[in-house]
Amino acid sequence: MDLSTDICGIELSGPVLNGSGTFDALAARRVFGDSLIEDFPFDCYVSKTITMNPRPGNPPYRLWETPSGMINSIGLPGPGLDGFLERDLPGLAGLGVPLIVSVMADQVEDFEVLVSRVATRDEVAGIELNVSCPNVHSGLIVGEQPSETEALMKALRPITEKPLIVKLTPNVANPQEVAVGAEAGGADAVSMINTVKAAAIDPGVNRTWLGVGAGGLSGPAVRPIALAQVRAVSASVGIPVIGMGGITDAESALEFILAGARVVAVGTENFRDPRAGSSVTEGLPAALGRRGFGSLAEAQAASLD
């Protein structure tokens, strides 16, 4: 079955991306060697979120397993923009799939620098804006406010013609309002959901387990939340939705497409199986067939009763 598709103009051999920050292709190549490239699990690679300056990330512990999920408080460790462009980007260009670079900043000026410098690189097909960060001026979390999100998009839109994707946070009452703001500001797509605010208590000691006290929940536990938000958002905007949150197999991926996503991303499941993205793709023809679809496009076009 032909699974090829596209997302805001980026041609894809199939609908399966990785969630930002859940698959380090360069590290995976070190560990698995060239078989990673020969059998690359995703149709499009999304980088982990890049910031202006290098960041060490959060103090340990950064992970805790929860019922059917996990909490992380990784804290965006990374080489910073220069380090990424110099050292990481050339390697990522060799993956053989389109590349989306995720960026985050806490002021519009930094976002502008990130977008303009990343966009000028030919290797980059699109840019994802991680807006789950407090605006240093307003103090508000940009992605929680429709108006802040719209304003940010209006500032960034003129910089590049490459697709700009806004990664929505699920930690709001109405994500569709933020999505509408993103669209009004000129976003080409939204991706969702990011992790859900969560915490865990140390099973032995009377303290929070995570070094920074709280983190974000992901995995199958959040899938029902993600499906509701994808449905609400895709009904409210005209731009396409990249759906994710607890996808583990073709069936759950297809649920997101039925809920209104155009393509999907696999996150936490990569940790359980490095080839999870490929498994999802391999299962899609049968899953589409079981639901009576002759092609991916039919499912993308279907609307739920």
Partner: protein, 292 residues
């Protein structure tokens, strides 16, 4: 014995993706448990490397956990008559993941990815003047020490093993993994061997030695590792430690397994470890509750 893929020296490359292995055996080992997997497709792992394991089916048992695979060091590698290799694992049942692994029976299946991480260096790589190796293991941490010791024996490199335990209950695996090899034991409760910490034994040995010719290897609980690290650093003795840290993926994808580096920032223990040099890290007790 292992193909280097550009990371740490001596990294054995793991097959891409997870594979389902048969459980060949599972037996009690003191307070712990040893089980054996038949790995038909994996390369031979080096001492210090580890695997991510998940029992199948029903990974995700009562209460929705375990959900993620668990990092476990191999405790022994041997040939399998029908092909491939047999991997032994020593398990301490501390929570849902280790309990589910310990509950597997022969004939059951287990998801495995790996081997991951880098291996211990050989004594001469760690210290060009090394005459032999001192292995310091504690509790469940005797597993990688046993693998290293076997390799040293095979290569004819002299080594001494110092093993420390809280009590008899926490000394499982020693008979099977160290057999009749010569070991020096410490029990905190004095039930046998030296009464006290294994670091007491290490200090005795180092006092008698020319520390310029020592190469120390250690694996065990964080507090023990930190004590070993300090003893060695204070004396300028090269030491390699196999650390633990909560891991989700084991192959560098999640950035969860952060260990603070001596020069600031963090390393990913799964790909930059789990074997680290004592002077590479800021502490072997990252994330542990403050004492006192």
């Amino acid at each position: 014995m292992s193909a280097d893929s550009g990371g740490k020296p001596g990294r054995t490359q793991a097959p891409f993706g997870r594979r389902l292995c048969e459980v060949a055996d599972s037996r009690p080992a003191g307070g712990y448990r040893i089980f054996t997997l038949i790995d038909e497709d994996g390369p031979s792992p080096g001492p210090g490397q580890f695997y991510m394991l998940a029992a199948h089916p029903d990974w995700a048992a009562e209460g929705g956990r375990p959900y993620l695979p668990r990092a476990i060091s191999h405790a022994r590698v041997s040939g399998n008559p029908a092909g491939g290799q047999r991997l032994d694992f020593l398990i301490d049942e501390v929570g849902p993941g280790t309990s589910r692994l310990a509950a597997m029976s022969p004939g059951d299946a287990c998801w495995i990815t790996g081997p991951f991480g880098g291996r211990f260096s050989l004594p001469r790589q760690l210290n060009p003047k090394a005459a032999g190796a001192v292995l310091v293991g504690g509790g469940i941490g005797i597993a990688p020490m046993a693998v290293l010791r076997r390799e040293l024996v095979d290569r004819g490199i002299p080594s001494r093993s110092l093993l420390g335990f809280r009590d008899r209950e926490h000394s499982g695996g020693i008979d099977e993994l160290f057999g009749c090899e010569e070991t020096r034991l410490a029990f905190e409760d004095g039930s046998s061997g030296h009464k006290g910490y294994v670091t007491d034994l290490l200090l005795q040995i180092l006092e008698g030695d020319d520390s310029g010719s020592a190469a120390v290897y250690s694996c065990g609980p964080p507090a023990m590792l930190e004590a070993v690290r300090r003893i060695c650093l204070d004396r300028g003795i090269p030491v390699e430690l196999a650390l633990e840290s909560p891991m989700a993926c084991g192959y560098g994808a999640c950035f969860g397994c952060a260990v603070p580096k001596a020069d600031g920032g963090y390393m990913r223990l799964c790909i930059d470890g789990p074997v680290v040099r004592g002077d590479e890290i800021a502490t072997a007790m990252a994330g542990e509750p403050a004492v006192g």
